[in-house]
Assembly symmetry: C2
Homo-oligomer: 315 residues x 2
């Protein structure tokens, strides 16, 4: 399957490529690249967050892609395993997705290229240049494969490149004052997390909850959903570190109970239900995962008194 | 306990009130109001999203409030039940909380008033004006009572009112391009949801999951956490309605499996595990909750084929 990520060395060039007309065909990705129609030999989306994306190649294999007349629903990049199936959620910070978001805001056109004679996500009959589209809207949805995907609504551009309207407005049910407050709060949101740590802890436990051992299966191939939970919380006022020694792999239900102090962990890795005053489980750990007990203590200290009996009494 | 919501008829007035000095005491809320020190007879936070908040009254009863020298950690408004305990998460859109966010952004000072001789969250010895503070930072945390609270860090203002620095900067680990994309995406986020619908469905089921019947208990008094799940999804591309007939009360684990199509619901309210091809449960419903089956069909149609056997065959 075609990777939809974006790496390129040619500069961004929005709009028509001089000398290339709608319906022109190309024998290979190399031919597309040489003609400057698509600036990447591998990626399905050419471009990134810095400059925007100027073209896409559609070669099938994305079950949530749709076409209806002049409208295309295009699935973004990311979260696919080596066999081409979706195995994780997509996110907006992937270069290709970020590039399309910026292209939309800049009201720039997008060149659309389609693979011909698609077989198992490969174009076996070359490529055709389909002309210019503009990005009308974008959103996240749960895709058919059970994971969140970024989706872009593209409309064929019939007028001039200068005539692209702003992205479709969203219904606003807030007052101006409420919007302003929401923006002020958003500007102070947590710093982005290190996605490598998130992925590493999920892989170590194969998305199995370290507390209740549940695997929340969401996809036909058995892929599961889990949370990467910080023990000493990220951000103000705790400022816990974003490292493997400070994270757990939890199911959403245990995660919320851990974050609210209903479940806490002793230094010998017993999980305690602090509301019922009983041991809930032994924390499931794999050998490669060193958990630093100082963070367990920091977590417990947020709810003074609750764990007294477990920490001092003879258990 | 003092309600921290904000309603007032006097106009906002930031800073010192002429004729009122630090340490001045007042016999009652009415006396504070008459002196224009605190523009509300009931609310702990005077002001809202439109104009900002100009004063707060602290009368105890908020277990996450803290004082240390010139620094106060102040808990925002909302989510408290009639007995004064936290029963729900707080949010930034509560008028008082929104008012404090705006005051911080405007770099305006905040008058702080303390209740004296606090007994069970009531000031039995009058009130004292503590002087001016500024809002250095704000965040959400899980409070001691098991729910998310909005928290504000206030520092006593020693210099001039004009000398208030901007809110504490957050560490930025994104590039400028990444920040821009994040803002563009945030601007297209889902429209705010009707919190009355959210609250109503949670109350109907006492936060019990309609699928697995779990109650995810998070607080010592037995309060639980649940999700209000839309059947036909809100926002693009589905545009499901934000009404009681289109929502379920679910635990986080069943919610994610429902949103990803791993769990689906027949028109006679059987919950099907579509990945294992077996019935998971009968959907738990209470009499007052009418679920419109058209939305169940709309949800199923997002994963064509998966429910075939359950909808056509003899079950």
């Amino acid at each position: 399957m075609l990777e939809r990520m974006a790496t390129t060395s040619l500069p961004v060039l929005f709009g028509r490529v001089p000398g290339v007309n709608e319906g022109d065909t190309f024998s290979s990705r190399q031919a597309l690249y040489n003609a400057k129609v698509h600036r990447s030999l591998q990626a399905g989306i050419a471009g990134g967050a810095r400059e925007g994306a100027d073209s896409i190649v559609m070669s099938g294999g994305y079950p949530d892609d749709r076409e209806c007349g002049d409208v295309i629903l295009y699935t973004g990049h990311g979260g696919r395993g080596s066999n081409g199936a979706q195995v994780r959620d997509q996110n907006w910070s992937s270069p290709g997705n970020a590039g399309l978001v910026l292209t939309s805001a800049l009201r720039k056109p997008l060149r659309v290229i389609k693979g011909l004679a698609i077989k198992r996500g490969k174009a076996t009959g070359g490529y055709r240049y389909e002309g210019l589209y503009h990005i009308v809207d974008f959103w996240k949805v749960s895709g058919k494969e059970g994971f969140q995907i970024c989706q872009f609504e593209l409309h064929k551009l019939h007028g001039d490149e200068e005539s692209i309207p702003p992205p479709r407005p969203r219904p606003v049910i807030e007052t101006e004052a409420e919007q302003r407050v929401r923006r002020l709060v958003a500007a102070r949101e947590e710093p982005a997390r290190d996605l490598r740590i998130v992925q590493r802890v999920k892989e170590l436990y194969r998305d199995t909850c370290q507390m209740c051992r549940a695997r929340v299966v969401v996809a036909p191939e058995g892929q599961a959903f889990s949370n990467c939970a910080h023990i000493k919380a990220l951000g103000r006022p705790y400022d816990g570190p974003d490292i493997l020694e400070n994270v757990l792999c939890l199911c959403p239900n245990c995660h919320i109970r851990f974050d609210r102090g209903a479940l806490q962990i002793t230094d010998d890795f017993q999980v305690i239900d602090t509301l019922e005053g009983r041991k809930f489980a032994d924390l499931y750990r794999v050998g490669e995962h060193h958990i630093d007990v100082q963070y367990l203590g920091s977590h417990r200290s947020r709810w003074p008194g609750r764990m007294e009996a477990w920490l001092t009494g003879p258990n």
